[in-house]
Symmetry: C2
Subunit: 320 residues, 2 copies
């Protein structure tokens, strides 16, 4: 068919997933290797090559052509094509990832961080199609973000823009992995809502199904499930999370006046549970000119596909 | 000489100032009319035409050509060329300013708000020359801002992006003119530092030269002067202001990772008085990757010229 194809590679702390994607976002072939089994980067590169090459061969057998390789990785730097000091990956320091992959495969390569890749994926294939100004918020263990202005991802002068999980929302608040206090992601993330729930269990006397659970079973999913089943304390934890997220989003709107904010990830998947109160708090707190004007929507990409799609979408942004 | 020239018009609540500017930022001719003497917009347009036309005639007598007219105005909307619901101007509702001026003068016209105009002026003629990613903060009665990313001013999807004075920095904090509580400009602005000083005078017993002053004499300038002369309570007011501004800037950096932040306006003019402690608080609070990396600098435009220069700079950004 001679259509152009993109390779998307998402490097996570545990797994690396990859796939061959067409212009419309169909994943034609996919695979995975363990990231953490390869503490030596050159051994990892060999394993990656062994995993991806057969897929490329299959995909191009019909005459289709690989346009390039897009990579999403924690602490990925778009300008340098590097991974820089990623705490959750096995390789230390600065890894010249784009160069290594380019040498292995011989295709053009772009690298960015996982939240930026998610934003580009959403813009290319998902809920942000046709939207030129939006903010992507990914809710996982932490809170990641990608900011799109005028159809372009914002990288800043150094490639690290869009760290909205590390905006301080509570002075002298919760201690964050970054060493500071009160960052948004210590409240709004899978780990943040668990901290909230544990605090509520300690501080309040309200009955809750979670009182009989072992601490390690109190996950963000368990809290959302309990809230959906009517557990009052779990609902309070969700409301507290929505309140802090809504206020933070109201502030972010004052920065870039986006048309939409897109939520992605585990916490965002519980239907309207989080998004509905977040939208209310956002509109309660935003400057009047934006009241009820900025859309707050859930991602339209399936969680299992999103990482590959996001990384692959980088390829369509490449200059010829 | 046949050089292109720009007309810059800055509409303020009291005065409208205008000038003819060359590509290097020399103001060749300038003038002013009273804004508030003309509550009728069509009478104002006539007065403006009478003021500006003779300057255009003089400037073009040698063969130079007017490329266009740039206008900075409170609540100016770049996309619509309008002034929308400006509380401090005599005209109510939505004023189709660009159309009115185009009809009067017959040149291409662009409109933006005053802080955005200041940012473009700084990028074209001032401290931000050659810098593609920066944030402009204007400290006047309120706090205005203009955000430049990739050499482009950020307007957002509706033309109102960059309202950093209305980021809430203190939940349930000071009441703001926008109707909400705790906005940055209620702390960091000429009026904000006066509120801080009055609070300190009430709450503390520390001696201060300001204790004997009439309330109306306690201006931001008087506070800065007293602080420079060693008044401890005035210094405390400056430090408090710097602390809140520094923390806010640390958060803004997480958004767009700018190379520099430029301060402009009365409060910023007191030499290093405000900027030095602000820089310290900013670096104390910023995410580690940006520590001591983002420049905090004062504007290089003279206050008296800046409004005209900023408005005129819009013209050089016009597409041919």
């Amino acid at each position: 068919m001679n259509q152009p194809l993109a390779v998307g590679i998402d490097i996570g702390g545990t797994n690396t997933v990859f796939g061959i994607v067409d212009r419309r976002g169909n994943i034609l072939y996919q695979g995975a290797i363990k990231t953490k089994d390869h503490p030596d980067i050159s051994v990892y590169m060999d394993a990656l090559h062994k995993g991806v090459s057969p897929l490329i061969d299959k995909a191009t057998a019909t005459g289709d052509q690989i346009k390039g390789i897009g990579i999403g990785a924690p602490n990925g730097n778009f300008y340098h094509g590097t991974i820089e000091f990623a705490p959750n990956l096995p390789w230390k320091g600065v890894i010249p990832l784009a160069n290594l992959i380019r040498e292995q495969f011989g295709f053009p390569v772009e690298v960015t961080n996982d939240a930026n890749a998610a934003a580009i994926g959403e813009m290319t294939y998902g809920a942000a199609k046709g939207i030129k100004d939006f903010i992507m918020i990914t809710l996982g263990t932490g809170l990641g973000s990608g900011i799109v202005i005028n159809g372009q991802l914002v990288y800043g002068h150094d490639g690290f823009a869009g760290e909205l999980g590390h905006v301080v929302v509570e002075r002298e608040g919760r201690h964050c992995g970054c060493g500071r206090y009160g960052c948004l992601e210590t409240y709004v993330s899978a780990t943040g809502i668990v901290r909230t729930m544990l605090e509520l269990l300690r501080e309040k006397k309200t009955d809750s199904v979670m009182r009989d659970m072992k601490t390690e079973d109190i996950t963000s999913k368990a809290i959302c499930d309990a809230a959906l089943e009517g557990d009052q304390l779990a609902q309070e934890a969700v409301d507290y999370t929505a309140n802090i997220l809504g206020m933070a989003l109201a502030n972010y709107i004052a920065f870039s006046a986006p048309e939409a904010i897109v939520l992605f990830g585990g916490l965002a998947r519980a239907g309207d549970l989080l998004i509905e109160p977040t939208r209310r708090y956002m509109n309660d707190n935003v400057l009047r000119i934006w009241k009820d004007k900025v859309k707050l929507i859930n991602s339209e990409l399936r969680e299992s596909d999103a990482a590959i799609l996001g990384a692959s979408a980088l390829v369509w942004e490449m200059k010829e």
